[in-house]
């Protein structure tokens, strides 16, 4: 896409047919190409990489952060950020566990107790997100600050709720969300794909999605075009909250408890996936598909390195190189496009 300001470059005479844009350009698929190359490489070098079980394992792990990453994509497109998702994960997991625990103790059925807990978590997530969006809009408080506060509040709340010990109130059927499988495919993978399809669709084929890009691209122009900027901001911040609750349910199910220590630094894993996928922290730019590839990229790299017995500390270094490399590639591409 050209972004040159030299107005003299469009010399098409009126009425002439618009030039066809190439249907496929390899430079648009750099990330996908690199990922494919890595998969091929790992398949030959890492023992047990190219097996069904390992792939399901990768999907299972990718799903937990991935679902939140799709919400984060919209947050970043708005030009905002949410660093409370890791703590939120712990808080909602603990809240669900505590609600389930106390209600079943009081004689309610476990099904009903979990349902009440989930509804309560989602309600709180929506309210918290709407509050963040409103404060951003009405008082111009950066979402970094508000969600920094939420981060502390959620983590503290998780410890207060549980007395810092894991709460384990769940019946057998609940473990399906974290460990179950349908046709041999983990339950999380379905949720992951479903959330991907929904958010991808929203981003590309809805007025709401277009409004989010518009607000991120230039909030003032969006406002003066009559777009409901406050509504978009509240909805997006609420959306990532809902996805955080979904992830919390699956994590709780997998570890069979509400544990206040989970999710530490998850916000950065999530943002890393988005950045690898080409989402701009400046707002206005980013694709849900990019985040999808970014999530897989990160999970496959970590999985491959573990299988190759690469030291955990070196995995951090690899992650750093990955972020830097991705950002450099995107930046060089953007600058080249601008120079024309």
């Amino acid at each position: 896409m050209t972004t040159s300001n030299t107005s003299g470059r469009t010399k098409r005479t009126l009425g002439a047919p618009l030039p066809r844009r190439p249907f496929f350009k390899l430079s648009d698929f750099v990330l996908e190409a690199i990922l494919l190359a890595i998969i091929v490489l790992l398949a030959f070098s890492a023992p047990g990489f190219a097996t069904w079980d390992n792939w399901m394992n990768i999907l299972r792990n990718a799903a937990m952060t991935g679902i939140i990453a799709f919400g984060m994509t919209f947050v970043l497109i708005l030009g905002e950020i949410d660093i409370s998702v890791g703590s939120g994960l712990a808080f909602f997991g603990c809240l669900l566990a505590v609600v389930t625990d106390s209600m079943t103790t009081a004689g309610w059925s476990a099904e009903f107790a979990v349902a009440v807990g989930v509804v309560l978590c989602i309600a709180i997530a929506i309210l918290a997100g709407m509050f963040t969006g409103w404060v951003r809009h009405a008082l111009a408080v950066p979402t970094f600050i508000t969600t920094l506060a939420w981060m502390a509040a959620f983590r503290g709340g998780a410890y207060l709720l549980t007395g810092s010990f894991p709460v384990t109130p769940y019946p057998e059927w609940f473990f399906f969300f974290g460990s179950g499988a349908i046709f041999g495919i983990p339950f999380q993978a379905f949720v992951f794909l479903l959330v991907f399809i929904i958010t991808w669709f929203i981003s590309r084929y809805t007025v709401f999605g277009k409004s989010a890009y518009a607000v991120g691209g230039n909030a003032e122009s969006a406002r003066l075009s009559g777009i409901n900027v406050l509504g978009v901001r509240m909805a997006v911040m609420a959306m990532i909250g809902i996805f955080t609750v979904l992830s919390a349910i699956m994590v709780s199910s997998q570890i069979q408890a509400g544990n206040p220590t989970v999710g530490v630094t998850w916000e950065f894993t999530v943002i890393t996936a988005c950045v690898i996928g080409g989402v701009s922290l400046m707002g206005g730019k980013g694709r849900v598909w990019g985040t999808f590839v970014g999530v897989l990229f990160l999970s496959i790299m970590l999985n491959g390195m573990t299988l190759l017995n690469i030291d955990e500390y070196w995995q951090y270094v690899a992650r750093a190189l990955l972020i830097l490399g991705a950002v450099l590639i995107y930046q060089v591409q953007a600058l080249n496009a601008r120079r024309g």
Binding site: M1, T2, T3, S4, N5, T6, S7, G8, R9, T10, K11, R12, L14, L18, P19, R21, R204, Y205, T206, V207, F208, G209, K210, S211, Y213, A214, G217, N218, E220, S221, A222, R223, L224, S225, G226, I227, N228, G284, K285, G340
Partner: protein, 501 residues
């Protein structure tokens, strides 16, 4: 040092598929002011980029005072003696005049030479300002200066580097008339310093008092340079566009009876007060006034972009109590913002997206939206408004100013409005694009729509409108009922608050 000499030989800049500057050769002498004219896309900005070091020429040479230059970047161009003053200001608002001018090269003193010597700094800057006959205190903060004064300081900053060649890229585009005059006075005083001055502008009327020569670019090529005495408007326009005719308001545009917009007693503290007017179907109403008279603020208030303190607005028979953009849009009001880049468009979105921005709900179907729904809308307005684009999916920032303005207009016309506000729609666009914007207003009027047109170019108002209201310090102080029979001097005097008719 004697007068400078800038000798440009066969300068060419090619972008993929387009020659942006084609074999430009010319000599610019020191002590003279050259007005560089050309419509949007004629190669002016490329010329500036090549000379400022922002772009590397594909071929050709630039000689300054008989020395061949070789720029790798803006720093090299500066060192070679070329200074550029851009339209967008680069001053730091919270710094003083002296701090801004000496930024990065403060005189120092004390142990280790790490303390800024403010006394010398201020005295030095005072000398610079005095030599340019600029009367602005050096310790004043930039944020306390008017836009015109800031532009003057920008020029002083460029001159403080003792350049041999000074490029002024549309320095007057954001200025009111009296500010333009003081800026032009500064430019005239630069002549004595032997600097070669290239003054880029869209405004034919302001070059007369300042330029010695007129240099014209068209379709990436140099058309020629003529002395100012020879350069009548007809000559210049013919050089810029080939043969053209400038149109004025067609006679068949009639003002209807029906009142479309009735504003009474509208006020907002410190912005405007006691504003009342009627706008009829088919009417093109101009609002004239100096910068800061409150014209934009008034339109924004009615449009719902800014709050109002009181008064009534009746649009198409419905009273809008607390206007918001969404509400006014529903009632049939549209407005193109003065500041199209920051407030009218989303630069990183495509032309297609920008054309659908204000009508997303209508273009979409039950909240769903896709390229297949948007593309026909984009195609329609690109065709109707003659927007020059090669690909509607390009980012809108790739367009020239005039075409960007048309995208803003198309975006709003797609909301199917009954009343359209145009706030400075012609700023920074060339004569042909201006004529097209006028034509759009007249077409709206012919279809029975009402138009409010705010412009700092008084000639334009006289040429385009049925009626002109004059605003000063937040109030209407006069009205011109027959623009076609009113001389520009009269309107100008009225705007300065000298006589209210």
């Amino acid at each position: 040092m004697g007068p400078a000499k800038l000798d440009i030989r066969n300068l060419t800049k090619a972008y993929p598929g387009v020659l942006a500057l084609d074999d430009f050769s010319a000599v610019f002498d020191g002590g003279k002011v050259y007005a560089l004219l050309g419509k949007n896309g004629s190669g002016k900005s490329t010329f500036v980029k090549c000379l400022s070091g922002a772009a590397t020429p594909t071929s050709g040479e630039v000689w300054i005072d008989g020395v061949k230059t070789n720029f790798k970047g803006p720093a090299d161009a500066n060192a070679a003696g070329i200074a550029v003053v851009y339209q967008e200001l680069s001053l730091i608002l919270d710094f003083t005049v002296a701090e801004n001018i000496m930024l990065g090269r403060f005189p120092t003193m004390g142990p280790g030479n790490v303390t800024v010597d403010w006394k010398t700094t201020n005295a030095h800057v005072q000398d610079i300002l005095t030599s340019l006959r600029i009367d602005i205190p050096v310790t004043r903060k930039i944020s306390d200066l008017s836009v015109g004064q800031r532009q003057v300081i920008e020029i002083a900053k460029a001159m403080s580097l003792n350049p041999r060649v000074l490029l002024l890229d549309e320095p007057t585009s954001a200025l009111a008339r009296h500010e333009i005059n003081s800026l032009l006075a500064v430019v005239r005083s630069l002549r004595e310093k032997g600097v070669a001055i290239i003054f880029i502008t869209h405004k034919l009327n302001e070059i007369r008092g300042v330029a010695d020569y007129v240099t014209v670019l068209r379709d990436s090529r140099l058309v020629g340079t003529v002395p100012i005495e020879v350069a009548t408007p007809k000559v210049i326009v013919d050089m810029m566009f080939g043969e053209t005719t400038l149109r004025s308001r067609p006679a068949d545009l009639k003002v209807g009876e029906e009142i479309r917009l009735k504003v009474s007693g509208l006020h907002r503290k410190d912005k405007y007060e006691d504003i009342s007017f009627d706008l009829r179907a088919g009417e093109v109403l101009g609002i004239a006034g100096m910068l800061g008279a409150g014209r934009s603020e008034l339109l924004r208030g009615i449009f719902g972009a800014d709050p109002i303190d009181g008064g009534t607005i009746v649009l198409n028979g419905t009273e809008a109590r607390r206007p918001t953009v969404a509400r006014m849009k529903d009632l049939g009001l549209a407005m193109t913002m003065e500041n199209r880049k920051e407030e009218g468009l989303i630069q990183i979105m495509s032309i297609e997206d920008n054309l659908c921005l204000a009508s997303l709900d209508e273009v979409g179907q039950r909240g769903f939206l896709s390229h297949f729904l948007q593309a026909p809308v984009a195609e329609k307005w690109i065709g109707r408004l003659e927007i020059k684009v090669s690909d509607a999916l390009q980012e809108v920032q790739s367009l020239s100013g005039g075409n960007q303005q048309k995208v803003v207009v198309g975006n709003w016309l797609n909301t199917d409005p009954k009343v359209v506000f145009f706030d400075e729609p012609t700023r920074g666009i060339d004569i042909i694009a201006k004529q097209q914007i006028f034509q759009i207003m007249w077409d709206l009027s012919r279809r029975g729509l009402s138009v409010v047109f705010v412009s700092s170019e008084l000639e334009e108002l006289l040429e385009v409108c049925h009626r002109i209201l004059i605003m000063e310090a937040g109030r209407f102080i006069g009205e011109v009922r027959e623009p076609e029979n009113t001389p520009i001097e009269t309107l100008y005097a009225m705007c300065m608050g000298e006589t209210a008719k």
